[in-house]
Subunit: 195 residues, 2 copies
């Protein structure tokens, strides 16, 4: 295993255990028994390392999304299962979930778009399911891709509220997530708007 890989697994471990805030170049270096500056031989800078971590976390999320998905589920149950998987991943892997969404906007323009191929694939997959539901007259949407982003954003909001513990203590997070999920899916379903 290369030093680059060592750095990745070790920093990933630190990230998961202690959160990204506690990850420092020097600490990683100490863990892999190397000087801090050596990391710069394998990563342009800390952001670059962070990006690699994001990438692998997105990969993991992407896999988690498709869990228990059956080919011949109808689009609605597919979407529901994916929403479940999404929220489950978020609360079971809060640190990893966070890193995906943690990069601050002022730093975003730096990030090469090709790095986000993986996450784009997820959106396209969602859009495909929505398109399927659209032709089957299950969903009432205009632009499936945009709806995929909408769905994603809403789920993200729910996950982030729970993870960052901003939920009222009176409200049980499990029920909250379930209810929110229903609301979100509901927003897509075909319906006669009441007169």
């Amino acid at each position: 295993m290369s030093l680059r890989d060592d750095i990745l697994v070790e920093s990933r471990d630190m990230l998961i255990k202690h959160g990204f805030g506690k990850v420092s170049m020097r600490k990683i270096a100490k863990k892999v028994n190397v000087s801090a500056t050596s990391i710069y031989l394998h990563f342009k800078n800390k952001d670059d390392l962070l990006l690699a971590l994001i990438e692998s976390s997105i990969e993991k999320l992407s896999e988690a999304l498709n869990k228990q998905l059956v080919q011949d589920d109808n689009p609605l149950t597919k979407l529901e299962k994916m929403a479940d998987n999404f929220l489950s991943f978020a609360i079971e892997n809060p640190q990893e979930y966070e890193i995906i969404y943690m990069v601050r906007p002022e730093e975003m323009p730096k990030y090469p778009t090709e790095k986000f191929q993986q996450i784009r694939k997820i959106y396209e997959m969602l859009a495909e399911i929505i398109r399927e539901g659209q032709t089957k007259k299950l969903f009432q949407v205009e632009d499936p891709l945009m709806s995929a982003y909408t769905l994603w954003a809403q789920l993200h909001g729910v996950a982030s509220v729970v993870i960052s513990k901003r939920l009222d203590t009176r409200i049980p997070s499990g029920e909250f997530m379930n209810q929110a999920k229903d609301h979100i899916i509901q927003g897509f379903i075909t319906q006669k708007t009441p007169a």
Copy 2:
């Protein structure tokens, strides 16, 4: 005006202009012509200062929410207007919006709950509107308070995706936010689920 106030306005200014990442104790100190350590005479630490900033931003958001709200609007249009106001505030004041939602979870337990009275009030207000819509048979919800959190979380998700520039470049953010808003509100509306 007290030094404490000077520190607040100056750091708020820095926050808005350059983002929270660029705000440092020493820079603030320089701006208000005082030594960095003097700040600690008025704030316990940086987090404490941050908290004061959050508080005032929440206040501002709270005011923005009620803009153009008319007493005798029906609950549905009230909710729609508030959703609009929420998203508008977020994109017009990204730095301030961010600071409200930027505090990392591991640091959250430190924060005294009484500081979040203001934001709780917002939730209660939302819940009240939802309750109103519930009795008027406009909305179909179980627990209005939980629904308030659901609504809020979804809006936050949409705002955060746009602010942190994670939206596909093919998708115009204005349309996206509008569509998302419709979806979110849709999830609350009473309806006959299709057979």
